[in-house]
């Protein structure tokens, strides 16, 4: 496991003239941490590539959602949190979850709807969480996690805990009432919350120009009376810097910050989407000129003095880990049918099987199964 932010060791001594506040926080990252950022991005990409292979083998149940080209946004922002902090990821924040301690094995089991997956087969893809490790799983209705994270961080404030929350929102999801109510509530209650708008150009097929007339999502900050910052979402260190400052701001009791990260969704909304609505050459240009991994590797091997083989070692490590996790996940069993009745309430602890299921075993083994998936684009 790569070092986490807790084990910060300053990479270089402070510049004499600049005050601590002016200098980008990333300048204090250790060499291990610099490499860790790359590791998490690579692990994200390798894991998603493996998921594509499994999807093609029809081993994934339901849709597959990629964050290709957005890995820096997830990884850089989550890396700015302490372990005790809590984030709420979206469908393209696989990288954030890995940084926060989710394992590839969990992700693989989730996508394959296994009985020992984190939700025991109850929920889709990366919809899961663990408050101990500090992430709370999203639900599909967009925007809802903003009010929820307002409440999570309200509890931090009420209890005087030194903890911060981070919630992501897509460019598209900023149009929901839940986003608006949640960020306004958090702002006026001075909750220690960072809200990151991930502007990846599209909401499904809808370009941002049909989502809002605002020139920038960061322009929404002033309407909530909070600071707003915009950053290059494909520069992992820029993401880390802007997030870290907002996290520190929240931790100092200064309340909510809105961050807009500029990035690009290089894959379709989900794997089935052929992106026919994307102007020609747009995807290729982003791939060629603005891949977050390529860009970061250049800095690692350039200004930070890592060697190509340092980088390759990380790639190799990611591959080995994903291979091992895949083998383990594939061997996992499906959930037991009766588990479906457990835990809707704390009390009663389980629902009763309905009367027409008296011969339960038989009902389950002889049930019909759909001939194929009715939809390939569930999200």
């Amino acid at each position: 496991m790569a070092p986490r932010p807790e084990s910060t060791r300053p990479r270089r001594s402070r510049g004499r003239g600049a005050s601590a506040n002016d200098r980008p926080p990333s300048e204090s990252l250790s060499r291990e941490q610099l490499l860790a950022l790359y590791y998490w991005m690579r692990l994200t990409r390798t894991l998603e590539e493996r998921l594509v292979a499994l999807y093609r083998q029809t081993k994934v149940v339901g849709g597959l959602f990629r964050s290709l080209g957005q890995e820096a946004d997830s990884v850089g922002s989550a890396f700015a949190l302490e372990r005790r902090d809590i984030l709420s990821p979206l469908i393209r924040n696989l990288g954030s979850m890995l940084v926060k301690g989710a394992t590839p094995l969990e992700i693989l089991r989730q996508y394959m709807a296994k009985g020992d997956s984190p939700t025991r087969g109850r929920e889709l893809n990366i919809h899961f969480g663990d408050t101990d490790r500090g992430f709370i799983g999203q639900i599909s209705p967009l925007g809802d996690m903003v009010p929820v994270m307002a409440g999570v961080t309200l509890s931090f404030r009420m209890r005087g805990e030194d903890r911060v929350g981070l919630v992501y929102i897509g460019d598209g999801a900023t149009s929901t009432g839940a986003f608006h109510e949640g960020i306004n509530f958090a702002a006026v209650q001075r909750c220690p919350l960072v809200v990151i708008v991930e502007n990846n150009g599209y909401a499904y097929s809808t370009p941002t120009s049909r989502q809002t007339l605002a020139a920038s999502f960061v322009d929404k900050a002033i309407g909530y009376g909070i600071p707003g910052h915009k950053a290059d979402g494909n520069d992992v260190l820029a993401v880390y810097d802007v997030t870290k400052r907002a996290v520190d701001h929240a931790r100092r009791g200064k309340g909510v910050t809105l961050i807009e990260l500029m990035t690009y969704r290089r894959k379709g909304h989900a794997e089935h989407d052929n992106q026919s609505y994307v102007p020609e050459g747009e995807i290729e240009r982003w791939e060629r000129e603005n891949d977050p991994l390529t860009r970061y590797v250049a800095r690692l091997t350039g200004e930070f003095g890592f060697t190509a083989s340092d980088v390759e070692a990380v790639d190799e490590r990611a591959h080995v880990e994903i291979d091992a996790a895949t083998d383990q996940a594939e061997a996992s069993p499906p959930p037991e049918a009766l588990d479906s009745l457990i835990g809707v309430y704390a009390d009663p602890p389980a629902a009763e099987p309905l009367w027409f299921r008296e011969g339960i075993a038989q009902a389950v083994t002889s049930h019909e199964r759909p001939a194929g998936w009715g939809t390939s684009n569930v999200e």
């Binding site: 109850r122 509890s155 931090f156 109510e181 509530f185 704390a346």
Partner: protein
């Protein structure tokens, strides 16, 4: 503001109003558990639109009695988030009608949190409900049917001061989300003796409001009182012995109590103030059919509101909502079947 306001005394053994009973429950639970806090619109200094929370902010401070923006989605979502972290929020809807704005957050997020994510939502959503007060279509609603349909949510709707206190305390201590509907017609009209001490009424248990042997009326909330009036009239005028069951909890339903009264009287009237189609009476009828069909000597009948938005003028509201005379007529029909 009355001088009582800043004290929020706990009575016990005394006669208090339905509204005071609710306030006492909030007060006592906030006293005994520092994780309990209240949020809502104008509940702080102002004490809420109906003054239910009057005095609470003076006692517990603005951190624990929190005035929110007009944001029902955010109030419910934030309560869920705080609940995940171990708090026990109590959210006030200024009128329960506005719970509709948080329907997604309640049914999709809150109701499923434990099941899909093993996250607890120990929270209460409470607010003034119901009609007979000339409130018109948006200040008179009975939204229970929209929620008893949702697994993961509990629904409570008391008719007496004692139950209001005891059920609210149980709701606050429950580890899941409880919708606590308060009938605004009863707020200041009903007063009864609330037992002293830590009076908790378990969720999921109905109450026999009046014993009887000829016909059963199954109901809850304000219409319990109409059923009792009708039962008395039927006893006086027809010599009929009518049993009145006050459900108290609508989700989960107390099947045992329902079946017991069916087996006893063999004739059942279900009465609710909510509109007819899709109201909770249908669900109860189905359960009786499934579990006690052989005990029925007559069809299960319903007395309900008419299927229209609730109008405002007294003559219209009175016509649309169920009245005692309707209950009398329906019971006579059942008894004669």
């Amino acid at each position: 503001m009355s001088s009582k306001a800043t004290e929020v005394p706990t009575t016990g053994g005394q006669e208090i109003t339905y509204l005071e009973a609710i306030r006492e429950a909030l007060f006592e639970e906030m006293e005994s558990d520092e994780n309990v806090f209240c949020m809502g619109q104008d509940i702080g200094v102002f004490g809420g639109a109906f003054k239910v929370t009057e005095g609470l902010q003076a006692r517990f401070g603005p951190q624990r009695v929190l005035d929110t923006p007009i944001s029902e989605i955010a109030m419910v979502g934030a309560a869920a988030g705080a609940g995940h972290m171990g708090m026990r929020p109590v959210v006030e809807m200024q009128f329960i009608d506005f719970i509709a704005n948080a329907y997604d957050m309640i049914t999709n997020y809150v109701a499923t949190a434990r099941y899909r994510a093993f996250l607890p939502c120990p929270m209460v959503i409470r607010g003034p409900s119901g009609g007979y007060v000339r409130g018109g279509p948006f200040h008179s609603q009975n939204p229970e049917a929209g929620f008893i349909h949702t697994p993961g949510i509990k629904v409570v709707y008391p008719s007496t001061a004692a139950d209001a206190k005891g059920l609210l305390k149980a709701a606050i201590r429950d580890d899941d989300c409880v919708l606590f509907f308060e009938h605004k017609y009863l707020y200041r009209r009903i007063r009864d003796v609330v037992p002293a001490g830590d009076h908790v009424v378990p969720i999921g248990k109905a109450r026999t409001a009046r014993e009887g042997t000829d016909v059963s009326i199954i109901t809850y909330a304000a219409t319990v009182w109409k059923a009792l009036d009708a039962a008395q009239q039927l006893a006086d005028e027809d010599g009929l012995s009518v049993e009145v069951i006050d459900l108290r909890t609508l989700s989960p339903l107390d099947d045992e109590a329902i079946l017991a009264t069916v087996r006893k009287t063999n004739r059942v009237l279900i009465l609710h103030e909510d509109t007819r189609t899709g109201g909770i009476a249908g669900e109860i009828t189905a359960r009786i059919n499934e579990q006690a069909f052989a005990w029925l000597d007559a069809p299960v009948l319903r007395v309900t509101a008419h299927d229209v938005p609730l109008p405002y003028a007294p003559s219209l509201e009175d016509f649309v909502l169920p009245q005692t005379s309707d209950i009398v007529r329906a019971v006579r029909q059942l008894a004669a079947y």
